[in-house]
């Protein structure tokens, strides 16, 4: 599904991502873990197109998307959520989802001015879809609330819902669990598993909580210092000496992060 | 060539010195308080009129009146911050920017009510310039302005490098969040920013009055070149702002020099120079020459 191929990204002399390569399969839920500063979020930004690599290439669904801006990758079926909530604060929850739907005709400015009817059907569909998504995520009661007034956890759900609106092939979840209470967290996990099973969305998620990763992910990539440390099942990863060293050991990887 | 130095370069450096002193405040306020302060030019005007009052009342020379200029401008700046900017500090900066537009209007109208609108001079008459080596002609007030700017620059550099307040200011300008973690008293830093910014603006205002005359639009007319200077030097870099001011001043004066027989640009387009530099910078090197902060 997605190939992260030999990517280098340099910020002011520091290689945040350094010749890192991994693959995200078309089915299943992939985890991306690593200590703080390992370059995980940078990798996500590179995949989603919010950053562009200094070297290497990103291949998505068989297309080289390295040079494409984020919005084009999204329309190819690549969605994401953010580590810190990026809601549209002054819009209602429902609109936050509706806007994410594709409405090519309605979004043309000349149509908006001269043919306000074009795109109306699509808007109607998008609203229905948005309401169904909110129901599925169990936040439909908040549909008319301004998104800025939501709690941190609710915003995470909102972002997940927004990412689902264009029926993406792959969804990147950046610390979906951070700042979310236990109950909501396991609810989110259930939703992700359900979505993966029923709708066939592939997921890749960054997460610190290894138990959470274990619950969700079939395969895990471990990053450290901008490089891929290893890949494998969660059990393999948990028992790997290098990983333990990075996470707990104060070994050679710790110093530089 | 000697004509170029006398009539283009030296006036350019003088103008640049004035821009430079004004731009320091713009740059620091932009870096620390994170908004474009549109009333900064009018702080210059407040300073110039403060000195004018002292010249009138006490009959002293404008140089001795400088403390009054600084006092007026600093008080004005601190009051405006307290009354108009502080209540908006937690909002998006756009509100503060618009507020500063209003403050510019308030300051200017106050000056017009209190001092009237006719243009004034500190002292009348004209002096023949000093002549060096039979060729270089430079007005003594230009010598004074330029050397005073050098002294101020050195003092500012020492303050920012060696005093605690100065180091804190630089830290906040570089990275506000980091500075907060390090336990820096932000309110205090903000106060220092206003004091230094306003004081230098006042000095610049008095310099304008010394060089030409004092009128109520004096600072407002110079605002955009000062912004350009602050951007050129890099936001939050006081010494960068000084360099930027000098560059803008010199370039503005020198573009109309007939380098190749024809002047590069009609003098009536002089003011466009600062804008062109500013726009080019925004597009190609928004961090400025000295790697300033990007907002």
């Amino acid at each position: 599904m997605l190939l992260f191929d030999n990517i280098v990204k340099n910020f002011g002399g520091v290689n945040a991502v350094d010749q890192c390569s991994f693959e995200i399969p078309a089915a299943g839920i992939t985890g991306l873990i690593g200590p703080n500063g390992a370059g995980k979020t940078t990798a996500f930004n590179l995949i989603a197109g919010h950053l562009h690599p200094d070297a290497g290439r990103v291949v998505f669904d068989g297309h080289d998307v390295t040079q494409l801006p984020a919005w084009q990758r999204q329309s190819m079926g690549l969605s994401r959520t953010f580590q810190l909530p990026h809601e549209f604060a002054r819009m209602t929850v429902l609109d936050n989802l509706v806007v994410a739907a594709d409405n090519r005709h309605g979004e043309k400015i000349l149509n908006a001015i001269f043919f306000p009817g074009r795109g109306r059907v699509r808007s109607h569909e998008a609203q229905l879809h948005a309401r169904r998504t909110l129901e599925f995520l169990e936040i439909d009661a908040l549909a008319d609330e301004l998104a800025g007034n939501l709690s941190g956890g609710q915003k995470k759900l909102l972002e997940l819902g927004r990412a689902l609106m264009q029926r993406p092939k792959l969804i990147l979840l950046d610390e979906i669990g951070a700042g979310v209470n236990r109950t909501l967290l396991s609810k989110i996990a259930d939703k992700i598993i359900a979505l993966n099973a029923s709708e066939g969305h592939a997921f890749c998620l960054i997460e610190h909580d290894l138990d959470y990763v274990a619950k969700l992910c079939s395969k895990v990539h471990v990053m450290a210092q901008g490089r891929l440390l290893m890949s494998g099942s969660i059990d393999e990863v948990k028992n790997d000496e290098r990983v333990i060293d990075v996470y707990f050991g104060g070994g050679k990887y710790q110093e530089s992060t | 060539m000697i004509e170029f130095i006398n009539f283009y370069l030296i006036p350019g450096i003088t103008l640049g010195s004035i821009y430079a002193l004004g731009a320091v405040g713009v740059s620091m306020i932009f870096g620390i308080l994170r908004f474009a302060h549109f009333a900064h030019g009018d702080l210059m005007t407040v300073g110039a009129y403060g000195a004018l009052s002292a010249v009138w009342v006490l009959g002293v020379s404008p140089w001795l009146a400088m403390p009054f200029a600084i006092g007026f401008a600093v008080i004005a700046a601190l009051c405006c911050d307290r009354m108009f900017y502080k209540p908006l500090r937690d909002l998006p900066t756009i509100y503060t920017v618009i507020a500063s537009f209003g403050v510019a209007l308030i300051l200017r109208s106050l000056i017009q009510v209190l001092w009237g609108t006719e243009s004034q001079v500190y002292s009348s008459g004209f002096q023949k310039p000093l002549v060096y080596f039979d060729t270089i002609r430079i007005a003594s007030r230009h010598v004074q302005i330029i050397s005073a700017t050098i002294v101020i620059t050195v003092a500012l550099h020492l303050f920012l490098t060696y005093s605690r307040a100065g180091r804190c200011m630089r830290a906040v300008a570089d990275d506000a969040s980091l500075a907060r973690v390090a336990g820096i008293d932000t309110d205090n830093i903000i106060r220092w920013t206003w004091v230094i910014g306003a004081a230098l603006a006042a000095v610049a205002g008095v310099f304008v009055g010394l060089d030409t005359d004092v009128h109520t639009n004096l600072g407002w007319n110079m605002l955009l070149p000062m912004f350009a200077a602050a951007l050129l030097g890099g936001i939050g870099k006081p010494l960068g702002a000084i360099t930027g001011g000098l560059i803008i001043g010199v370039v503005e004066e020198c573009v109309s020099y007939p380098f190749f027989g024809e002047s590069l640009l009609s003098p009536s387009y002089k003011s466009a120079v600062a804008f062109v530099i500013m726009i080019a910078l925004l597009l190609f090197r928004p961090q400025g020459l000295f790697r300033g902060r990007l907002l």
Binding site: - | E3, N6, F7, Y8, P11, G12, T14, L15, I18, S109, Q112, G116, T117, E118, S119, V121, S124, G125, F126, Q127, K128, P129, R137, A139, V208, D211, T212, D213, H215, T216, N217, N221, E253, C254, S256, Y257, P258, S263, P267, S268, K270, S271
Partner: protein, 401 residues
């Protein structure tokens, strides 16, 4: 909503106060108090006040009623001038409007307010040639000659001084561009050579670069068409300091006491100025200036002071002549009181003028700034005087017609 309440309260108060007096004759003064011309305003306003005072001290207008000037701020720009003129015409119900200082403000307010509402407007200072052939139904007048005129006279004056090569530095606004353009055309057609012709913005601090270029063009003198309080004094000062020019020719904008204050009379010994004036057999200028300085302390030599007084006085005379505040009658009366023939009256002669008018005699106002004979376009030909510096003031030495 509170704002709407506030706005209606403001309106209510205003309406109340507007209708409070009724036995007064109101004339609007459309000034640019704030805005780019702000630093010229105080003496101009004082001159209008002096005219108001002269009328009231001389027994009032229309049989003893109070003559009141309503001053509004047009900010020397089109939008606020139109708005201010509309208030004068519609709310204050003025009989006529004195003003519009910059041509842009005058033309816009006349087009949008005075002409459609049929109100006489007399501008004391607008010099734009565009005003000459406006379709104004004869409601718009001005008492300064169009730029076309002063420029031509100035050219004659310069040639008479044996200056055949001059450089021209002019400020880039309607005043500077207008006079400079006609000066250049006239001067060159009479055989003079303009060696350099540069416009400038009046907010700059240094003009040394332009001046150096102009100095090297071989000119014998520098013609400065700019306001002394704006760029004019700076240009003269910087030229003298650096030895670019030692001889200057100025217009009424430069002929300002401020110039002598800043430069000193000595350095200006060879400099001469053109300015609209009155014919020499009408020595009212001197008396007026003395009275003005007694009343207000200073400022009689500032630009446009004379014109402001004359415009206000002419309007007052026209109202008296019309015998009513009816707007179109006031307009019709203006030419009659301003133009010859008729018994001559001057500034301060209000009582005499009223008496003459009461006797049914024709009068002819000869003002401080000229004799004001309006042509069909509402323009005056005017007299241009030649002035030189005399001590700390100016002296008229010749008159051109």
């Amino acid at each position: 909503m509170k704002l709407t309440v506030l706005a209606s309260a403001v309106l209510a108060i205003a309406l109340g106060s507007a209708s409070a007096y009724s036995d007064e004759v109101k004339v609007g003064a459309l000034m640019g108090i704030t805005g780019p011309l702000a630093n010229f305003i105080p003496p101009i306003l004082n001159a209008a006040r002096l005219a108001e005072k002269d009328v009231n001290d001389g027994g009032g207008i229309l049989g003893g009623e109070k003559f009141t000037l309503v001053v509004v701020d047009g900010q020397a720009a089109a939008q606020p001038s139109v708005d201010a003129a509309s208030k004068l015409v519609n709310l204050e119900n003025v009989a006529a409007i004195m003003g519009g200082l910059s041509s842009g403000a005058t033309i816009a307010s006349a087009n949008a307010v005075s002409i459609p509402n049929g109100v006489l407007q007399v501008s004391p200072t607008s010099t734009s040639p565009a005003m000459t052939d406006m379709e104004d139904n004869d409601f718009l007048f001005r008492i300064v000659p169009s730029d076309n005129y002063q420029g031509q006279v100035l050219a004659k004056m310069v040639l008479e001084e044996q200056l055949s090569k001059v450089a021209v530095a002019y400020v880039n606004n309607d005043y500077g561009v207008g006079i400079a353009g006609t000066f250049k055309a006239a001067y060159e057609s009479m055989g003079g050579t303009v060696t350099a012709f540069e416009k400038h913005e009046d907010k700059k601090n240094s003009y040394r670069g332009e001046l150096a270029t102009m100095a090297s063009s071989g000119a014998e003198a520098l013609v400065v068409i700019a306001y002394a309080g704006g760029s004019g004094a700076k240009i003269v000062k910087q030229s003298l300091e650096n030895g670019f020019f030692d001889r200057f020719v100025g217009t009424d904008g430069l002929r300002d006491d401020l110039l002598i204050e800043q430069i000193g009379a000595e350095a200006l010994a060879t400099t001469f100025f053109s300015a609209p004036t009155s014919p020499d057999d009408n020595p009212v200028g001197e008396i007026f200036h003395t009275r003005f300085d007694e009343e207000f302390g200073e400022g009689s030599d500032k630009p446009f002071v004379d014109q402001s007084y004359d415009a206000t006085m002419l309007i007052a005379l026209a109202i008296e002549k019309a015998g009513t505040t009816d707007r179109s009658k006031v307009r019709d009366a203006l030419r009659e009181v301003a133009n010859a023939p008729g018994e001559e009256v001057g500034p301060g002669d209000w009582k005499k003028a009223v008496a003459l008018l009461a006797d049914g005699k024709d009068i002819n106002y000869e003002g401080v700034s000229g004799s004001h004979e309006f042509d069909n376009n509402g323009d005056v030909a005017g007299f241009i005087g030649k002035f030189v510096v005399d001590g700390d003031s100016y002296k008229q030495i010749a008159i051109f017609k």
